[in-house]
């Protein structure tokens, strides 16, 4: 099977009636890592949540396809089963549902009802993934994200990614709120899952995670559009010169361009 391809084309999205994405185009293929950077409030999480089908975000134009299939026509759970994954910037707390039970349910949702994942097999895989991410095994029996620290929630998102093995994963600020060691552990976990069958879209504000997961492309999102794309060096330029540089360099050109 050919590797996955997520194609976002001229995407326009409104939140509560306000247009946030104003024609965003981006393609991620299996084996690639794309970093998406940009100032606060420019629409990065909006992009991520729209890919997954968050009910608050209304698509007013453009398209998203996965291997040519219309993603926007699918419900969120079908998108996930088709291979999309979103590590959320602010994962929900789900009271009363243990992480292990939740993950087993999620895995079984991908399988034939007559062939649920075997408990031992599941446990082994879970234990292994927890070891990779240095997560205490006790977390498996805690309620999903409830009372987890910010960093623990982020690790839990990557844990889910390792178990669910998506084809396209969007990681929304998976490095925020993590200490230096945790960034390395999480990044190594992400890096280890790289391969031709996984395309990654990595939303971040910082260069440091990109030191471990070297991106193929870096995109800068500004005011709901990709305004600049380049190689890994673009992230380094940003790190040293800041977004002010992007504003000065590019915004007049964007604003001046015909609608």
């Amino acid at each position: 099977m050919a590797g996955p391809e997520l194609a976002i084309s001229d995407l326009q999205v409104a939140v509560d009636g306000k247009l946030v994405l104003k024609g965003l185009t981006l393609t991620v293929r299996g084996g690639e890592v794309h970093a998406v950077m940009g100032p606060n409030g420019t629409g990065k999480s909006t992009l991520a949540q729209t890919i997954m089908g968050h009910p608050r975000y209304q698509v007013t134009g453009g398209s998203i396809t996965l291997d040519g299939r219309d993603v926007l026509a699918m419900k969120t759970d079908a998108r996930a089963r088709a291979g999309l994954f979103l590590a959320m910037q602010y994962p929900n707390e789900v009271s009363g549902v243990t992480t292990a039970n939740f993950l087993r349910t999620a895995l079984n949702a991908r399988r034939d009802a007559k062939d649920p994942v075997r408990l031992k097999e599941f446990r082994d895989e879970l234990d292994h993934a927890m070891d990779v991410l240095s997560i205490d095994h006790g977390f498996a029996n805690r309620y999903l994200n409830e009372g987890f620290s910010g960093g623990e929630k982020k690790r839990n998102e990557i844990l889910q990614m390792l178990l669910l093995k998506p084809r396209i994963a969007v990681l929304d600020e998976i490095d925020s709120g993590l200490d230096i060691d945790a960034v390395r552990i999480v990044a190594e976990g992400v890096d280890a899952s790289r391969g031709p069958e996984l395309g990654l879209l990595l939303i971040t504000h910082y260069q440091r995670i990109l030191n471990y997961v070297t991106p193929d492309r870096v995109h800068i999102v500004y005011d709901g559009r990709v305004v600049m794309s380049g190689g890994p060096e673009l992230a380094e330029t940003l790190e040293s010169r800041g977004y002010e540089w992007v504003r000065e360099e590019l915004v007049p050109a964007v604003e001046g361009s015909p609608a």
Partner: protein
């Protein structure tokens, strides 16, 4: 042709016969109760021929319910009559008594005279009076001083296909320093929708420093109109824990009431309700702090689907002199359907200033953002609701003393969820 009604039972000790006659008079005098949110008159309960209490039909009781391997003693009632009563050796050796009330009336006349009806007063309402007037049998459990049973005593109340009126009573007397768990289940064939009135009472006399845990699972058949009254009195340092689950019946007017009569007494209560279709639940949980340094913690969680209706009235009363008491209540309801309705009415009645009391009630639909999060991992909506409902009820279900009963409650939850899925409402 109807048989002539028996006012008293043959061989009944005079005292009990007198009480029964008095209860009968009360019953005749009391009107159908008026409950603010439960229109009882409209249910036409009086059209049910319940005044002729049903006779036993042991063959109807499913074999799986006739024994309970993990219990210290097991009693099976069919239509309000004890049809089997067994106690295991360790309990017997420790001097525990487990008797049918019919036998106890003869063998334990003094205990019965002293305690039966001492807590659930016949004049509570018409259907409690009916219980006191029409009861045929029930269970007496006596735990001697200092005896602690590791395994619970289980009581099964089976409602048969031909029964119109069922009036069992349970009396638990725990002597000082004893410890006992009792699990009562009320059930019948879920496919049987004939109308039947069930009025049951359970009384708990908790002696000094005793610990009594009472779990009750109400899973009556869909035509049942139930009145379940439970009341306990905790003496010095005694503790009564209630865990009640309301799943079945068309109507259930139920509740538990605890008197913390002396210093150091305490009680906890956990109530779980799952309403579906047009079920109606009206539950009262009450605690009265009489002694100082008494504590109570009352929690209820309900899931409401279909057009079901629930009322949960929590009352914590703190009498004057009950200083340094601690009374808490928390009621939470998960609404699965916009057509369901739930009222949680927590209240505090405080007559002493040196106390801590708190209450909270909340109700709301399933958390859509949590559903989205679960969906983003590939879990379909119905399965996600399943997970959330189980997660919501779990902490309360876990308070039920017996794993086998917990399993039955989980099965009940599962079948409720399937019922809703079948209707396409989830």
């Amino acid at each position: 042709m109807s048989r002539p009604e028996l006012l008293t039972l043959p061989d009944e000790p005079t005292l009990l016969a007198d009480r029964r006659r008095a209860a009968r008079e009360l019953y005749e005098a009391l009107p159908v109760p008026t409950r603010p949110r439960t229109p009882l008159k409209a249910r036409r309960l009086e059209a049910i021929p319940y005044r002729e209490p049903a006779s036993a039909n042991p063959n109807e009781v499913p074999a799986a319910l006739r024994s309970a391997p993990e219990s210290a003693g097991h009693v099976v009632l069919s239509n309000g009559h004890v049809v089997s009563c067994e106690m295991k050796e360790p309990a017997r050796r420790a001097g525990v008594k487990l008797l049918s009330l019919a036998d106890a009336a003869q063998q334990e006349a003094n205990l019965i005279a002293k305690h039966l009806g001492s807590l659930v007063a016949a004049d509570t309402d018409r259907y409690t009076a009916a219980n006191a007037a029409f009861w045929r049998d029930g269970v007496l459990l006596v735990v001697p001083r200092g005896v602690a049973l590791a395994e619970p005593v289980t009581i099964v109340h089976w409602v048969g296909a031909a029964a119109a009126g069922i009036f069992p009573r349970t009396l638990i007397v725990a002597d000082a320093d004893s410890s006992i768990a009792v699990v009562e289940t009320y059930l019948g064939d879920p496919a049987d929708s004939h109308r039947v009135l069930v009025s049951a009472t359970t009384e708990v006399v908790a002696g000094p420093a005793s610990h009594v845990s009472v779990s009750a699972l109400q899973q009556l058949p869909p035509g049942a109109e139930a009145f379940l009254r439970r009341r306990g009195r905790a003496q010095h340092d005694a503790r009564i824990d209630w865990a009640t689950a309301e799943f079945g019946a068309a109507l259930s007017v139920a509740g538990h009431h605890t008197d913390l009569a002396e210093s150091g007494a305490s009680t906890t209560s956990h109530t779980v309700t799952f309403g579906s279709a047009a079920q109606h639940f009206d539950y009262d949980a009450e605690v009265v702090h009489i002694g100082p340094h008494t504590t109570s913690d009352m929690r209820a969680r309900g899931v409401m689907s279909g057009r079901s209706r629930s009322i949960f009235t929590g009352l914590s009363e703190i009498r004057q002199g009950a200083r340094r008491t601690d009374a808490r209540q928390k009621e939470e309801t998960l609404m699965l359907s916009p057509d369901a309705r739930a009222d949680a009415i927590p209240s505090l009645l405080i007559d002493d200033n040196d106390v801590f009391a708190a209450h909270a009630a909340s109700a709301g639909p399933v958390d859509e953002l949590a559903l989205y999060y679960l969906a983003s991992r590939g879990i379909p909506r119905a399965d996600a609701i399943d997970l959330l409902v189980r997660g919501f009820l779990g902490p309360v279900v876990e308070r039920i003393a017996l794993p086998a009963v917990q399993d039955r409650i989980w099965q009940a939850i599962e079948s409720k969820l399937q019922e809703e899925r079948g209707r396409g409402t989830l």
